[in-house]
């Protein structure tokens, strides 16, 4: 089928999207070559000065980037393992199957910032229930939000709570769409549950797993809301991610030009690294 009409279907969406995005992208690139800040709020041209500053004199950005990589990769791995386990558990018949499916989905329907506000009271070091309950067992008090190392784990806990359901949903939808024949064949061969998983379920799920992991990595690389409310990047810079650092530079210190440089560099790194990760995962998980 080939019609002139095909453009009528495609173009409204395509051009609305391009129309909304083209200005911000060109503007960011242009802004990144300027020295726009609160003293000189104008679009002057200072060449690649900002980029030189970023690559030679800004360890804080690179630290925030590695922190972001650590946080997003570790949360996505945890989400994948837990999400897969949960999906397998409610895939076949168990008691209250539909009840548990709904429960496991609920966190992804809740607004991250709002739940983080609740988590913040939950992990409050003197008035929160976690330290209180642990105190009854003689543990703690644990400095959930003010210890630089533990604060990272608090962020991970909240992120895992929030987004494991999304992983669970994608994987369960995948499991439910699998063909029945390979499982019958494995049952006839008398394969154990473990062998069935390793030789049948997991390979069949590989393409779906890769899709789910990449979607989650894309979303996790934008971690911002949680950090913003839970720790504001603190204590010190212990939980500061790239987005948050750009936010501080751009909208708190009003170094717009430099923030645009950071934004553009960050976007390019993101696109390159996600493409590489997608390629590597495909190689690792699909063995023909």
């Amino acid at each position: 089928m080939n019609f002139k009409h095909k453009y009528v279907f495609l173009f409204p969406g395509l051009f609305v999207l391009i129309g909304i995005l083209i200005f911000p992208i060109i503007f960011t690139i242009r802004l990144s070559l300027s020295g726009w800040n609160s003293y000189t709020p104008e679009m002057n041209f200072i060449g690649i000065t900002n980029y030189i500053r970023l690559f030679t004199d800004d360890p804080r950005f690179w630290e925030s980037f590695f922190r972001l990589s650590f946080l997003s990769v570790s949360t996505v791995i945890l989400q994948y393992i837990i999400g897969f386990a949960l999906a397998l558990m409610v895939w076949r018949e168990i008691k209250f199957k539909r009840f548990f499916r709904v429960i496991f989905l609920i966190p992804m329907m809740t607004t991250p910032v709002i739940m983080t506000v609740i988590w913040r009271t939950f992990f409050h070091e003197s008035l929160g229930p976690v330290n209180d309950l642990l105190g009854h067992f003689g543990i703690g008090p644990i400095l959930w939000l003010s210890d630089p190392v533990i604060a990272k784990f608090t962020v991970i806990i909240v992120e895992v709570w929030q987004w494991t359901p999304f992983m669970f949903l994608l994987l369960l939808a995948g499991l439910l769409s699998l063909p029945k024949e390979p499982f019958l064949a494995a049952a006839i061969d008398g394969a154990s549950s473990f062998r069935k998983f390793v030789y049948v379920t997991f390979p069949l799920m590989a393409p779906i797993s890769i899709g789910a992991i990449i979607i989650r990595l894309i979303e996790a690389s934008k971690i911002m809301d949680t950090v913003f409310v839970l720790t504001s990047g603190g204590p010190g810079t212990a939980t500061e991610t790239s987005s948050f650092y750009i936010y501080i530079k751009g909208l708190r210190e009003f170094q717009m030009g430099y923030a645009a440089t950071l934004s553009f560099t960050y976007l390019v790194i993101m696109i390159i690294s996600l493409t590489i990760i997608a390629k590597v995962l495909t190689k690792l998980m699909i063995k023909e």
Binding site: M1, N2, K6, Y7, F9, L10, P12, G13, L14, L17, I20, L21, P24, L31, L86, F100, V102, I103, F104, L105, I106, P107, M108, M109, T110, T111, P112, V113, I114, M115, V117, I118, W119, R120, T121, F122, L127, P129, L169, A173, G174, L176, S177, I208, I218, E219, S221, K222, D225, F228, V229, S243, I246, Y247, L251, A259, A260, S263, Y266, L267
Partner: protein, 282 residues
């Protein structure tokens, strides 16, 4: 062995359920507390640990002038922005997805897959990268701090999701369906509108729900691009987080903000159990 496995399985499921439910239970309990029962020591069960009060819920509907929080207006703002942006994204996204699923496009080295990837890849864009230029863009055209400005921005967030789900869905709707309609004398628009669309309702519902979820839960753009004229729900709730924290009204407003979408969890589960989602989400 089998018994041990079963035991571990149920233990895990129950522990995970407790983990999911815990913050909600805590919020429900906190929303009925007063200053005394929040600040003296940690309390859990109403009547047993503390005397419950409705103050936390009452301030939600009071006007700010009388010491209230007034989340009614932000609530309707959030509903308006989310629904409008979702609707526009679904309409434009579905049309584009249909084109990408049924017709072949060629322009230089660009093929269908590249166009689909272009749509979906917009999700990679970190909000912070867009927020600064959007801030300046919207203030130039006078849409800063307005509902319309937010709708424009949310379309960028939501249309990729609509295209992602609908392309896969249309790929599963048999092509013979529209071909038969065309032979029967429909033009391509009629074939799409009268034959394909009615057969795509499950896909449209799933795409719609995802748009609504990702629109409703956004905080960052609303936070950067609006100030006083227009406030969305998440911004309003987070604003309560500052200064002296009134945990009771904070918990009450948080609960009431997340409540509507919990219904979505039931709908998603229904589609999942009927097997409709498996096609739409791969």
């Amino acid at each position: 062995m089998e018994k041990l496995y079963k035991f571990l399985k149920y233990t895990f499921i129950i522990l995970w359920t407790v983990f999911i439910v815990a913050p909600f239970l805590w919020a429900v309990s906190t929303s009925f507390k007063d200053f005394q029962s929040v600040n003296s020591k940690v309390t859990y069960i109403p009547w047993l640990d503390f005397e419950p009060t409705l103050e936390g819920w009452r301030v939600l509907v009071k006007s700010p002038a009388r010491g209230g929080v007034d989340i009614v207006e932000p609530y309707f703002n959030s509903i308006f922005v989310t629904c409008t942006a979702s609707l526009i994204s679904i309409i434009l996204g579905t049309l584009a997805a249909y084109a990408l699923s049924r017709f072949t496009f060629k322009a230089g080295f660009v093929r269908n897959n590249d166009i689909t990837f272009f749509f979906i890849s917009q999700r990679i864009m970190p909000p912070i990268v867009l927020s600064i230029p959007f801030f300046i863009f919207l203030s130039t055209i006078g849409l800063l701090d307005s509902l319309l400005g937010l709708v424009v921005v949310y379309i960028v967030l939501l249309m990729p999701i609509a295209v992602w789900i609908m392309v896969d869905f249309f790929n599963r709707v048999p092509k013979e369906l529209d071909e038969t309609a065309l032979i029967d004398g429909c033009n391509p628009y009629q074939a799409f509108y009268k034959v394909v669309l009615p057969n795509s309702i499950p896909g449209l519902i799933v795409a719609g729900m995802f748009c609504i979820i990702f629109g409703w839960i956004d905080f960052f753009f609303a936070f950067i691009l609006t100030f006083t004229e227009v406030q969305l729900l998440p911004v309003k709730v987070v604003a309560l987080n500052s200064s002296i924290t009134p945990w009771w009204s904070l918990s009450a407003s948080a609960l009431i903000s997340v409540a509507p979408l919990i219904i979505v969890a039931f709908v998603v589960e229904r589609y999942l159990s009927k097997g409709n989602l498996s096609g739409a989400l791969k």
